[in-house]
């Protein structure tokens, strides 16, 4: 299973997680883990998800999440997990 990491960065407000979760469930994407933290006053959230049951490909999911981010005034990225594993695990 290839995991995707979704990150949200921006000013905290009501409904960010809700909106992202609605999108994910609507596209059959399973959430494996969620973490969040505040860095330098900015809201950082990370979700580890499994997109393998979704009918949409990575590009489309990334683009649609980015659009949702724009509506919410935050930055949403979807990246495949390997980049983080490569950089931080030997």
């Amino acid at each position: 299973m290839k995991k995707t990491i979704i990150t949200v960065l921006g000013k905290d407000r009501v409904g960010i997680i809700a909106k992202v979760c609605v999108y994910l469930s609507g596209n059959n994407i399973n959430i494996l883990d969620i973490a969040q933290t505040i860095v330098d006053g900015y809201f950082n959230m990370m979700m580890v998800v499994d997109c393998s049951a979704s009918s949409k490909d990575h590009d489309m999911i990334a683009d649609e999440l980015s659009e949702i981010g724009k509506e919410l005034g935050v930055q949403i990225l979807a990246q495949q997990e390997e980049i983080f594993n490569m950089m931080h695990r030997i």
């Binding site: 990150t7 979807a78 990246q79 495949q80 983080f84 594993n85 490569m86 950089m87 695990r89």
Partner: protein, 454 residues
């Protein structure tokens, strides 16, 4: 599982510290493209390049989106054209035809540069080598994407001084033919000693004859990431500083390794090497000069610069080799003047001279790079500067290179504008004492004693 702080760290490097994959370069052998005549050879070259690299740009973009990492350039390097065109190109203009074919193929593939308009003449020149070298000024003035390089010396062979003498004239002529654009043609011409066969960075990339039919080489960069990392250890000991640089270099290289493996699998082309080089761009926060300042120098060029650079270069290599199965190319810190804002500032402040740059090239990758000098600099002086740099490479058993631009019509105090990644450069003063009689001697400088290791 990966933690949120690790995710934040990686994305911070990309967003705020200019971490990127600088280039995916596909090396393509053209040795099987020699045809019956010039036009047949050009057709074969065009077909092989456009067929081999048709998916290169698309694949690069796809990987970029998948991992959220910018992949700035997609490029192509080919077999040195003097070898490919030797039997069919009978004049300088014939070689220029091949250059135009390369340019068209690069345009068709959507890559911004194609390297390999090259000759390997470290010991001697064949008639084809000499024709190609003499055709460089015209080839670079009538094409936009073609890059040229000449390997004019090596530790094993010594320095081909006949080639160096000719290249002084070629550099000047290239400058003349592109004088309406501040002699930009010279920015696409590199003279090497100990040129590597697998360097993915332009303008010096070519696909060496020891390489496979096709290969993917990846160049990663990240001076901004190193700069930010060492900000956190200001005032600490060298041990702590070195450890920090090494860890950062490791992380950067791992991203390159991921991208290279992915590109190799998607394109069905073997993975060659990762070149981990701190390659600056004119963007603020993407500068090797800035790293040197952070290490503790007022400006690059101040006393201590050579030592600081030697340490930086070594730590970058040590971090890099652990991160990838195959590290190659140039791998180290680049110190181009025009492409690095803080190096430009150092020149303008009077802290950095050609002579100090020359010393710095003894301890870091490559050499005198993107150096703008007065337009009236003599050909023999340019040859002398090149010969000095070749000698450093030959004796120290390392790659050195010269990319020097005599900017026609400009003098010390003026600036040359190259635009884009090439940036701008203040014209640097050149030592004007003559080396004419030295350059006019015929033949070659013998290989140094320590080359006899058999």
């Amino acid at each position: 599982m990966i933690g949120i702080n690790e995710v934040i760290e990686t994305n911070d490097m990309i967003r705020h510290m200019n971490l990127d994959v600088r280039t995916i370069t596909m090396g393509i052998s053209l040795l099987d493209c020699v045809g019956a005549d010039l036009s047949d050879t050009c057709d074969r070259i065009y077909r092989k390049i456009t067929e081999s690299a048709k998916d290169l740009v698309h694949t690069g973009n796809e990987i970029s989106r998948k991992y959220g990492i910018p992949i700035v350039n997609k490029r192509i390097s080919v077999t040195p054209i003097a070898l490919v065109g030797g039997s069919v190109a009978k004049s300088e203009d014939d070689f220029v035809e091949i250059a135009k074919t390369l340019d068209n193929a690069a345009t068709e593939c959507g890559v911004n540069f194609i390297g390999g308009y090259s000759a390997l003449v470290s010991k001697g020149m064949t008639p084809a080598d000499e024709l190609l070298i003499r055709s460089i000024p015209k080839a670079l003035s009538v094409t936009g994407r073609v890059c040229s390089s000449v390997n004019a010396g090596s530790t094993k062979t010594g320095i081909n001084m006949d080639a160096i003498r000719l290249l002084g004239e070629v550099v000047r002529e290239t400058a003349e033919l592109t004088k309406d654009q501040d002699s930009i043609g010279c920015a696409k011409l590199v003279v090497f000693c100990n040129a590597p066969d697998d360097n993915p960075f332009m303008a010096g990339a070519f696909h060496g004859v020891t390489e496979a039919d096709k290969i993917i080489n990846v160049g990663v960069s990240g001076p901004g990431v190193v700069k930010r990392a060492i900000e956190s250890v200001r005032g600490e000991s060298f041990e702590v500083l070195c450890e920090t640089i090494k860890k950062t270099a490791f992380k950067i290289t791992r991203v390159g390794q991921l991208v290279a493996k992915e590109a190799s699998a998607m394109l069905g082309v073997p993975f060659g090497i990762i070149d981990l080089s701190l390659a600056p761009t004119p963007a603020v926060g993407d500068s090797v000069g800035e790293i040197l300042e952070e290490i503790g120098l007022e400006f690059a060029g101040a006393p201590g610069t050579t030592a600081a650079l030697a340490m930086l270069n070594d730590q970058v290599k040590k971090g890099g080799v652990m991160a990838s199965s195959y590290v190659g190319g140039l791998s180290g810190a680049f110190i181009p003047v025009s492409e690095d804002q803080r190096m430009i500032d150092a020149v303008e402040a009077g802290a950095l001279t050609i002579e100090k740059l020359e010393a710095m090239t003894c301890v870091c990758s490559v050499g005198l790079d993107m150096l703008a000098v007065p337009g009236d600099t003599k050909a023999t002086t340019i040859s002398g500067i090149i010969a000095d740099e070749m000698a450093l490479g030959m004796v120290n058993q390392k790659t050195t290179a010269v990319r020097i631009i005599p900017v026609i019509g400009k003098k010390v105090g003026d600036k040359a504008q190259f635009g884009g990644l090439l940036g701008y450069a203040p014209i640097m003063p050149v030592n004007e004492f003559s080396c004419d009689a030295f350059i006019e001697r015929k033949g070659r400088i013998p290989a140094p004693i320590h080359s006899f290791k058999n």
